[in-house]
């Protein structure tokens, strides 16, 4: 278990860093990497005896402290009690617009995805929304989404307490500037490069001439991740935890 960090561990560590300072983060039911990032932050804060981080995993019994039905998450966000949330997207465009509905002309879209879920509300209500999509291809990151489930920015005068803060993919980490609006590539994950990311991204984004690599976790963080966080993950995402453990072991034996 002392091998170098795997690419997923680097992702998880990057997410924990993006969450720094939140008191309460909510994660969708099928989002093991964001959940792992939040669990890692919680563990780091507890080690540092800093303010407690609360994690709600929707649909989980273990990590569900809601008692007022499935409306409570949205109420809680409306009350300003949720600081961060993760959002995916079938399509995401350069203005931070998210499409969870489908490809082609609505309503009879040629590809239909499940639907907008709570995004059309939470993107406005939660201060720090982290866009997370592992697949980094031009069909996901488009110039303009075919359907706006949730808009990246709003007109002045429209109530908006939050919105996109960052975008994390399998290739890199972007910040979002609401004033421009647009993304900026902040770092590139190890084994990827700028040219590859440009080719895989359907929208223009800002970047340094030579963006840094996304930092790997330090020893202490890696130990927490491979110990306590992996155990916690196992309770809620047994399949994912087992996969992650195999990757770690594979890395270690290859090293």
């Amino acid at each position: 278990m002392s091998g170098p960090a795997t690419s997923r561990e680097i992702l998880i560590t990057a997410i924990a860093r993006l969450l720094d300072g939140v008191r309460h983060v909510a994660v969708g039911a099928a989002s093991p990497i964001p959940a792992a990032g939040a669990m890692l932050l919680r563990a780091l804060k507890q080690e540092a005896k800093a303010e407690r981080v609360r994690l709600s995993i929707l649909g989980s019994v273990e990590h569900n402290f809601f008692t007022n039905g499935s409306a409570e998450l949205f109420d809680c966000a409306g009350q300003g009690r949720i600081d961060a949330f993760f959002l995916g997207g079938g399509q995401i465009d350069g203005r931070g617009n998210v499409n969870l509905v489908g490809v082609g002309d609505y309503p009879a879209t040629k590809v239909r995805w499940p639907g907008s879920f709570g995004s059309a509300y939470l993107y406005f209500a939660v201060p720090r929304v982290i866009l997370f999509r592992e697949e980094h291809t031009p069909r996901v990151f488009v110039e303009k989404v075919d359907f706006i489930s949730a808009p990246g920015v709003s007109e002045p005068g429209v109530w908006r307490e939050g919105g996109p803060a960052a975008l994390v993919t399998s290739k890199g980490l972007f910040s979002f500037d609401r004033s421009r609006p647009g993304f900026r590539l902040e770092s590139i994950h190890p084994a990827h490069d700028l040219r590859e990311i440009k080719a895989a991204t359907g929208f223009a984004f800002e970047h340094d001439e030579r963006p840094p690599f996304t930092p790997a976790p330090n020893e202490e963080t890696l130990a927490l991740l491979r110990g306590r966080v992996l155990d916690e993950l196992h309770e809620t995402y047994p399949g994912f935890a087992a996969e992650l453990r195999r990757e770690i072991d594979g890395c270690a034996s290859a090293a």
Partner: protein, 269 residues
């Protein structure tokens, strides 16, 4: 037991608006077949706030004219094949919503008011495609501040599954309070349960806190493992393998028909 479910299904008439709960809240899968056999069609489904297997099956069986929902999927088993196909071929009308807007519409009904406001949504194509919603300027601000009003959703029938009911029709819903919201908002509420208990669920404060009172419940029938292949909180887990079996079969209309008839044979065993 089968006859009870068939009797309950008769409460559903063609063209009615039917409220159904989210996967994990207690889906009365046991009612799906009686509903299909009963055959009341042109249904308007309201998913509270998202739909899954039951919605896909009712669409596949040709009973559905419109779906109001925040999403329809089979979760880990992937997209909902009959729903996706019906949307793509425009065989059903899709009213895309967002979860808290569906809760807001039911809340308006619960409170006996014509609408409830909701934040967000401004600038989305969800809103742009909802001619039944309104945007007003918040009357408590001097200028501007647009806000969406969602009209009350009044389902004719709500259908769900719960762990238990008592002899007075009181139903234990625990912390799944969206089931209560559905019942408050609906004219008729049909409930299947794992078991009937002999003590009154309202008689002690501990169980009363998680109980939907019988005044909101029109009919109750026992259906053991009635959420299967979905799970039921505190009772049993979701049978993901079965969901995947369905997802694979229902990619085509023929596969769906085969699955449903195979399922019929199993039920007849």
């Amino acid at each position: 037991m089968g006859s009870d479910l068939r009797r309950m299904a008769e409460a559903v008439q063609p063209g009615m608006c039917i409220a159904l709960p989210v996967d994990y809240a207690g889906v009365s899968m046991a009612m799906t077949r009686p509903l299909i056999e009963h055959g009341a069609d042109r249904l308007h489904l309201v998913c509270v706030p998202t739909g899954g297997l039951q919605v896909d099956m009712l669409i596949g069986a040709g009973l559905v004219a419109r779906v109001e929902t925040s999403a329809v999927s089979l979760g880990e088993a992937g997209g909902a094949p009959r729903f996706n196909d019906a949307v793509k071929s425009a065989r059903i009308e899709i009213c895309d919503a967002t979860c808290p807007a569906i809760h807001a519409g039911l809340l308006a009904s619960q409170k006996g008011v014509p609408f409830v406001p909701i934040r967000g949504l401004i600038g989305t194509d969800v809103l742009a495609n909802r001619g039944d919603w309104r945007v007003i300027d918040n009357p408590f601000e001097a200028a501007g501040d647009p806000i969406v009003l969602v009209p009350a959703i009044h389902p004719d029938v709500a259908i769900f599954h719960a762990p238990m009911a008592d002899r007075d029709g009181n139903v234990w819903i625990g912390r799944r309070r969206e089931l209560a919201a559905m019942a408050y908002a609906s004219r008729t509420t049909l409930v299947t349960v794992e078991r009937i208990v002999e003590r009154s669920l309202l008689a002690d404060e501990t169980t009363a806190a998680g109980t939907l009172p019988g005044i909101y419940v029109s009919d109750v029938a026992v259906a053991e493992r009635g959420a299967w292949p979905y799970g039921l909180w505190g009772e049993y887990e979701t049978d993901t393998a079965e969901l995947k079996r369905y997802a694979a079969a229902a990619r085509s209309a023929e596969g769906f028909a085969d699955y449903m008839s195979g399922d019929l044979r199993e039920a007849a065993r």
